[in-house]
Each structure stands twice: as C-alpha cells, then as structure tokens.
Amino acid sequence: MNAVNAAGWRPSMGGVGEAGGVPPTSSGDYGLMLEEPLSFELGAEGKCGVDFDAADRAPAAGLSKFLRKAPPALPGLTEPEAVRHYTRLSRQNYAIDLGPFPLGSCTMKHNPRLNESMARLPGFADVHPLQPQTSVEGALEVIEQLADWLITLTGMASVAMSPKAGAHGELCGLLCIRAALDARGEERDVVLVPESAHGTNPATAAFAGFKVQSIPATPEGRVDLEALKAKLGPNVAGVMITNPNTCGLFEPDLKRIADAVHAAGGYVYCDGANFNAIVGKVRPGDLGVDAMHINLHKTFSTPHGGGGPGAGPVVLSEALAPFAPLPFVTRGADGTIHLVEEENRGEGHAQAFGRMVAFHGQMGMFTRALTYILSHGADGLRQVAEDAVLNANYVLRTCEDVLPAPFAKSGPCMHEALFSDAGLADGISTLDIAKGLIDEGFHPMTVYFPLVVKGAMLVEPTETESKAGLDRFIASLRSLAERAKAGDQSLHSAPHFAPRRRLDETLAARKPVLVWKGDAGEPAAS
C-alpha cells in the first residue's frame, strides 16, 4: 500500500524535535492532514464569488424606510477559495463512501449515484410546488408510484407522503390515531411504549398530547405480552412498537399484541426505522399494524447528508387511512392522478386531520427512493433484507466470544448485532471501544443505545458491505475487545489518529458558543 502517513503519525505522538524526529511544520498542516479556518476568518467583506448581470438597481422610492443600513456582515469568498474551503472541510468527515458506517438503527447503506442524477433532472429539480397540476403530472406520478410500492411492500391500505422525516412521520401516525379516536368520540389518552423504545417514541407521543406508559421487556429482549395486556383498557389509545426492535430482534408476538390492542379498542403504531431487515420478507400489514413510518433515508437509501434531510412517509391501515393529512395524491378508477389539497378536500378526503408541511413533502427524496426501488425490484429488495440480516448475524457470531452479546442466546438477530461492555477491564468502557474503532479507520457503532443494555454497542453493517470488508471490521473489533480486556489504557485517550482528539463537551455545554464573534461583529439584536 502506498498510503501517505502510513504510520499515522501526528504531532501529539511526540517525536517532533526529538533526536531523529521530525520538526513541526510551519503551516500546522501535516501532509494530507489539513487544518481549515472558518470561512469568516478567510473571507473579506466585499469579496464575492458570483457575477451579476448589469441592471439599474435603485430601489423603488416607497421602499426607502424599509432598507437596511448596511449589507449583512457576511464575508464572501471567490469560487476557487470557496471550493477549496469546503473540499478541505469535507476531508475531516468520515462517510459511507470511505468505509463501513455500522451505526445501529441508522441503516447507513451505500447511496447509489443514479438516485442523485435522477433527482437532478430538471423535470423534478426545477418544478415549483404550486404549478398548475397539468404542468406537474410527472411529479405527481412519482409520488403515486412510490406510494403504491410502499403500500404493497407493507401490505397496508394507504400512505401519507408528506412527513419530512421519521419523527415527523411518527407524529403523523399518532395524529391519525388521535383523529380516528375523535371521530369515534372517544377520549383515550394513554399510549404504551416499550422501555427499550427509541427516545423519539415517548417524545412524539407526548407531543401529540398523550400520556406515556412504559411496558417492560422480557429477559429475552422482547416486549412482555402479558404486562402489555394488563395495561390495556378504555383509556389506551394505542401502543408504539418498534419491529424489529431496538435490540435487533423481531417481535414474534406482534400479531398477538395487535389483536389484544385492537380488541381493547386501541391502535398499533409500528416504528419502521428497522424496516430494512424485513422488506420483502414480511408485510407489517399482515401483523396487524395500523400505522408505520418508513425512513426513506434508511431502507430506501436516500443520503443522510450529515444529518438530513430525511423523509418519513407513513403507511396506514383501512381504519386510519381516511385521516391522512393534506396534500394527498390518489389515482382514480380511470387511472388519472388527483392532488387533494384544502380547496378540494371534500372530494374524497374530507376527514384529513389537517396539514403537516407547506407544499408536498420531500419530493427530492421521493425521486431518489423510487429510483432505488425500481433498481432493486421486488426480488432485489427481498435480497436486501436477507443480506442485511446475514451480515449482522455474521458479525454477531464472529464476535460473541470476545464481546458479551446479551441476547445471542435468544436466537438469530435481525439486521443489527447487540453487544455490551460487561467484562472489559476496569475503567474501560463502550466509549473507549468506539473511539478505538476511529483509530482503526472505521466509524463506531451506535453506543449506549438501547438503554436497556448497559454499555450497549449496536452494530448494523447493512447489506452493502462485502464479506471482505466485514472481515476487516470484525478483525478490528476483536482486536479492540482483546485490548480492552487486557486493560490497554491507551484506549482511554483514543482516538489518536483522527483530525481531532476527544472534544470537551462539558465546556461546550456550560458556556455555549454557537456563533462566531471573532470580528466583534456583534449581531444587531439588543
């Protein structure tokens, strides 16, 4: 291998100025390890990377009392400076394009580039959300075709496409439940949530005006069916279940749970964050689910983009379908596509609970997801789930002898393998393993989640890792586990080879510095 800085040397390791060592560079950069100042420190007021057409620019007379006194205090960069600034910054990020990104429950899979180029076709990227329907029939057809796939893949009756992300989809599903209860004239105010649930579930339930009650887990990491049944009653609006659950296990009792909840007059919300494990293998609709959001940025490969944008369509059962929010796209019996908005809601969607977003939702994500779905087809999507589950089980079984796997005895896992830090040497924890993985050239797994397992490490390799790539990751994880058991204290100060060492989060939270004030360019607000 012909790597630059193959030994991973950095100034913090010493050697600089020592006998035979290397003196520090005068730039502060080391080969391809490049530092980059803030754009505000690079730019100059008055500089600009955009040229404009000539025009007479005097503002209209009436506008004078509204004019700002000076341009915003924003330094500009010319194009070469800007391209270099952002390119240098990009190199301080880890990304799927660089290697495995096994964040449990996040489904960091490869993002196909065909999706990107299709989303950029002017017919999709350069259309306005309020154009007359006759001029956007192709866009509405994308929404309708994707909706049709999502409905078929999940075995549900309908789908609300507009939610902007998973948590927004959850909220949409719970509001459908609220609207359905209102229509029945019932005041049910309790939502049951398993204690292993992602924090978003109780946050969303509270946001939708419900009281949250927790359901315990069994020692095997599943929802305790009997404990759940004991809580059902006339005040229970529904239950929020994640399936496969946050321990990476399928809930075999989901149908029985759903039957019990339905018999008690409630609805079943399924958190679809982990749909990647079961797409094409089982349809949630067959298990009694009433609503489930689908993170297009997980199962259907739209890019995470450093934290969004996501997209969170919600599939709905017959019981909840009438309440889906506006706008709503339907295909009539004659094959024509209709956009239902406020002005025509009376035509077939009169019970919509309202509107969650301006315009139509995440169209740019719909084109990417549809492109991905068409690429894989029904057979490929099934293979996605199978390979994702196989890869996770492979990680589980090749590491369980060196890292405790609390539910390994429960049988196979689904798309993610759960480990804990029990049994490591004193003082060495999950965090140290995670930071050690950074030094090994990998992104860490999800750590300290789910909360029901102490020192949890949740590894989701996804189906887009090759066996050879997994073997390299496994070798690193095993080596770290062994170093941790042997009490290797150097793990405490890992990472040693990243663009930054461990960052002081306490300082950041005690005295928050959220904007740059280095030029004393204080904001105008008093």
């Binding site: 600009c48 600034h85 990009s90 190199r91 990020n93 017919g123 306005h128 450093g306 090759s466 959220l514």
Partner: protein, 456 residues
C-alpha cells in the same frame, strides 16, 4: 444486483459460519404464516441502470420545468440561480454520505459547516444565535410558537393575515392537538398589511404574534411597531421570512425587535424541487437558548487544546429528554444547510445585497409592464421581488389557461386561500434575477390576450 456485494459463495460460507442451513433460518422469529415465500407478486423485478433511467426520465419529461418556460411563481418557494460549485460540493461523498455528527472527532467537516451556517443565519436575521436548521419554514414556524409558549408561559399565538396560508394550516393543525390557542387574522386585498389589526389582537394572554416579512402578498409590515406593542404586553414577536434574499435589501427582523426569526432557506442553494426537501431557518435571542428547538453546534476544544466543534445542549432533545423534550425532531436539514451556506459564502454580504437589488430591479420592470395591461392593477404600495396583481377575472382560471400556453404565470390567491372570500382575482407574481425581459414580454402578451382577447 449492482448494489449487493455478497456473492452466492460468500452467502454459503457466512451461513455456515453462523450455523444456519438457509437464510430463512435467520427469520425464524417471523411467524411462519406471515413470512413471504418469494418476491411479492405483481411487482417488477430488478432493473438495469439504463432501464431505470429511461423510466424516470420519461416521468420527468411530463413536467413543465421552470427553466423551460416564462416562470413567475413564488409564494414561499423561489427560483434563483445556484452557482455550479454549490451542487458539486454538496455531492462530495464526505458530506453527502455522512451521518449526524455524533462522533465529532471524525465529523469536523459537517460540524464546522454547521457552526458557520449558524453564524450566517444569525447575521442574516439579526438575531444573537441560530440553530443548525429544521425541516422547513412551516415547521420552524410552529416550533417558534411552541418555544414562545415555553418562554412566556402563555399559550395564545396571534397569526397575522399576511402569513403564508400553508404555514397557518400547519400551525392550526398542530395546535388542535396540543390545545394551544391560535388567533388567525383575516387576509384582505389591501395595499398595505393591516398592522393595526395585529397590534389590536395582542392581549396579556398572548405568547407571541407571528408576522411574515415580506408577507404572503409581497407587502412589508412595520415590524418595529408590532414588536413594541408585543413587548408591552409581555408577548414575543416571531418574524417569518420565506424569501431570505429580501434581507439583502430590507432590514433584518432581529434589528427591528423580533425575538424569534424563522424562515425558509430554500432560496439560497437549495432549488425548487417541487416543494422539498427545504430548509427551516431558526434564530432567536441568546437568553432563550435553552428553550430553543433543534440541533445546535457549539465551539469547544479537544484534548490537545485545538479548536473543534460538537453538537451541544442535547439534553433539550428527544433522545435524552424523551417525553419532556422541547421537540420530537431528530434530524435537521443538513445537506440543504450546507448548500445554503456555500451559496451565501459565495455571495458574501455585498453579493447578497447586489442579488437583492437585482431581484427588485427585475420585479420593477415586470410590474411596470404587467400593469400596462388594461384591467390589471398592482395591489402593493411596496414590494421586494413579489407582489399581488388584481385581474379583471378569477385568477385561478387564468393561471390554468396560461399553463396551457406554456407560461407559468404566478400563483392564484384562490388556490392559496380556498375558503377566503374576495381574493379570487388576486394573482401572486414573483420575479427574480432568473427572469428575462423576454419572459416578461411573453407573460404580458399572453396575459393580455387572455384578458382582453388580443390574439397572441
């Protein structure tokens, strides 16, 4: 399958290693009666890149794209020219395919961009601080109302009649479930926004008053007067900016006394995209920081004392506070924030001012020409790059007919305000630097021929 690296031999070897006879053994927890035995029937099988490209291109071709016709739509989504370098940079895999920066040592690129973005938004809005973005302008608007309720411990929000009706619908939908009280003022076809009505609606129970600037009809409210009235009653002013380019020309809402400023950042860097993904902007006073929704990036140092950035104050967020979180939002709109930030870095403050002046100049040229059509009047006394025309007949039909002639001639108020009376003849027309003289002339000619029967 081009996206699946495992070979049949790999699968066999791996199954043996995990002790399973077949992959179905790994799905034993799925009840057998629910397990599908093969690919779902009736759906197409996998397809080549070329075949998918054909399918998607055919769908795209059914749309009339903004760049292929005279185009005058706005109403919360604006067509601006985005420098080529923006899209090139956001497609770098290190930005495109990274996750939320939970491991800051290997996410300084994303984090530093967010810190720069927060600074840019705060300076653009004239607020002390800003967050790392939200879903879009409408959801940011609702989050601002919730935050105002936390800050003031009061639960009644007043929405001005100039607020985008979709934003108002989002707020009323959510408030119905959270049981917050919302007072929605009516929208009238008047040359200036009814600031007096807004001020008159504020009482001691009011948590905040929500005012769009410029408003949905393109008019400009007097934020300073409204801020003063709100503060006198212990209420906050939430300013909503759906066209951030306007702030290159008109005063920043924070400088006029707005306590929270939210907006839609789509205009810079993001593009139209049929409505999403867009970019929610959120700025406010520093003293409200712990009541703020959304992610925040903060400056700190690493173990060697080097400057670095982390996500901070996360105890406000859903994954820690669970049912006590300030918001249930997990994601921001990271890649759109990056695009916005790059575009604004290329412009700088001077460039933004020039861009704004150019938009205004193009709009003046357009409205001068359009109001020469008999029967067409300009409603606004002032405007930035968007204003309302009053037509002699229902604007909804006119827009449809114009589309039939391949002219995208604005947004009818009848579509935006389906239940309001008296707005039907209103046509909202936006003009940006992308609008050419030829576009204006074609639009004017076609509109005139529709309205007065002059053959085109």
């Amino acid at each position: 399958m081009r996206y699946l690296p495992l070979t049949p031999a790999d699968r066999t070897e791996m199954l043996a290693r995990v002790g399973a006879d077949s992959v179905d053994d790994l799905f034993v927890d799925v009840p057998e009666e629910a397990r599908l035995s093969g690919p779902i029937e009736g759906l197409p099988m996998h397809a080549s890149e070329m075949a998918v490209e054909r399918h998607m291109t055919a769908l795209a071709a059914k749309n009339l794209s903004a760049g292929s016709a005279p185009f005058f739509l706005g109403a919360g989504a604006y067509r601006h020219h985005v420098p080529a370098s923006v899209d090139h940079l956001i497609q770098r895999g290190e930005f495109l395919t990274a996750y939320t920066p939970y491991q800051p040592e290997i996410a300084q690129g994303t984090l530093q961009v967010l810190f720069e973005f927060q600074t840019q938004v705060a300076r653009l809005f004239g607020t002390d601080i800003a967050n790392a973005s939200m879903y879009d302008g409408s959801t940011a608007c609702w989050e601002a109302i919730l935050m105002a309720a936390r800050v003031t411990r009061k639960g009644k929000a007043v929405l001005s009649g100039g607020l985008h009706p979709h934003y108002g619908e989002v707020v009323r939908t959510m408030a119905r479930f959270t049981r917050d009280e919302i007072v929605s003022l009516g929208t009238e076809l008047a040359a200036e926004p009814d600031d007096a009505a807004v001020i008159g609606a504020i009482d001691d129970a009011t948590s905040c008053v929500v005012v769009q600037y410029p408003d949905v009809l393109g008019r400009i409210p007097d934020l300073a007067a409204i801020a003063e009235a709100a503060h006198a009653r212990g209420a906050l002013l939430v300013a909503v900016v759906t066209e951030p380019v306007a702030l290159g020309l008109i005063e920043a809402p924070g400088a006029l006394g707005a306590d929270i400023v939210v907006g839609e950042g789509q205009s810079l860097g993001v593009g139209l995209q049929f409505g999403g993904p867009y970019l929610g902007l959120f700025g406010c006073r520093e003293k409200f920081v712990r009541q703020m929704p959304g992610r925040l990036c903060g400056e700190t140092v690493d173990a060697e004392g080097k400057r670095g950035f982390v996500l901070t104050l996360s105890t406000r967020e859903q994954h820690i506070r669970r049912e006590k979180a300030t918001s249930n939002i997990c994601t921001n709109s990271g890649l759109c924030a990056l695009a916005f930030s790059i575009h604004l870095t290329l412009l700088g403050g001077e460039g933004l001012a020039q861009l704004a002046a150019l938009n205004h100049a193009r709009a003046r040229a357009a409205f001068e020409r359009l109001t020469r059509i008999p029967g067409v009047e300009l409603l606004n006394s002032v405007y930035f790059n968007e204003a309302t025309l009053i037509l002699p007949r229902d604007a909804r039909e006119v827009v449809q007919e114009l589309a039939g002639r391949k002219v995208l001639g604005g947004v009818s108020l009848g579509r935006l305000f389906p239940v309001a009376d008296g707005l039907g003849k209103g046509l909202l027309v936006a003009v940006t630097e992308t609008t050419t003289d030829e576009d204006i002339e074609t639009f004017a000619t076609e509109l005139e021929s529709l309205l007065v029967g002059v053959p085109a």
